[in-house]
Amino acid sequence: MKRFLLALLLAFAGFAAWGQATEVAHPDIAVENRLKAIAHELRCLVCQNQTIADSNAPLAVDLRNQVRGMIASGKSDDEIRAYMVQRYGDFVLYKPPFNAVTAFLWVGPALLIALGFAVMFAMFRRRKALAEAAPAPDESRRREIESLLAGDEPKAGR
């Protein structure tokens, strides 16, 4: 039974490769490499958490072919990206540009870290001020502390 299942699996495994191969009949290595680089930065709008390089949605296939055509006709990477943004908006870019809408997104983490440091320093300073303001322990108290530090059990015991 196991063998049969394995055979079945292997028989169907071939289809995956076949599906890949049909996209272009004679792939040009240089074009495919550039396509790969660009397609990894572009979001597939049908399946939003995938790039158009990863997705097998029909739209992703169309867009890959579109990018192939544009590379073949000598368009630069920036021109191709601009083409996509013009049609699908900034959302299509996995690395969103810095503008009024995305400013908080880009600056937010740095602001949070700065805020964290500010709070930390304020706490340090307050702790230091409190330590300085605390009254020095008197002689009998000091002896008790020292004996405790030396490892003696407190008199009351536990």
Partner: protein, 185 residues
């Protein structure tokens, strides 16, 4: 101790600040939950509708370009026979056509002509005409990523609104009708 009242205020603050942050976060997440991530603001609003020349669905020898609609407010509705949500939307389009609200041009997107015409025969044809975009090239130019999508185009050929997903009776009443009235006035 002298620091006692200050420490009391500090304690209230210590409690209030995280609570405020938590409430703020909840508000953000609650707003986030009500929004549909599939609805992406279209970069086309306020821009001229991209030009194209396509053949008509029912008359493959006749062409259509958006320039023919200049001077009219019209809808460009992206549909396909394989599109499930288009079936949901179709009765609303039929109703709009029956009431003669606005001319609707269909963009038959990545479909086979025979399938598309059969689908219209079955479900009714609300379109003034449909154009056939078999390879989806015009769809890409319009930033289509999921049928049905509907563009409202004004008399000057500028896109004023894009509906992503089916036009429901609610969308028709609350968004399209007021917008169309405003554009036609």
């Amino acid at each position: 101790m002298a620091a006692q009242p200050a420490a009391g205020a500090g304690k209230t603050l210590k409690f209030a600040i995280p609570l405020a942050i938590f409430v703020g976060l909840c508000v953000f997440l609650a707003i986030g939950l009500t929004r549909d991530p599939r609805e992406i603001p279209s970069p086309f609003i306020g821009k001229a509708a991209p030009d194209f020349t396509l053949t008509r669905l029912h008359q493959p020898e006749a062409k259509f370009t958006p320039a023919e609609m200049k001077g009219k407010v019209w809808l460009l509705n992206v549909w396909a026979s394989w599109c499930v949500s288009c079936r949901v939307e179709h009765p609303v389009l039929n109703e709009m056509s029956r009431r003669g609200i606005v001319p609707i041009v269909g963009l038959n997107y990545k479909d086979a002509r025979a399938d598309a015409t059969r689908w219209l025969d079955q479900h009714g044809n609300p379109y003034s005409l449909s154009v056939w975009d078999g390879d989806g090239k015009v769809g890409i130019d319009y930033g289509v990523y999921g049928a049905p999508e509907t563009f409202v185009i004004d008399k000057q050929g500028v896109i004023r609104y894009k509906q992503i997903g089916p036009i429901t009776p609610e969308v028709l009443e609350k968004k399209l009708l007021p917008l169309l009235a405003q554009l036609n006035s």
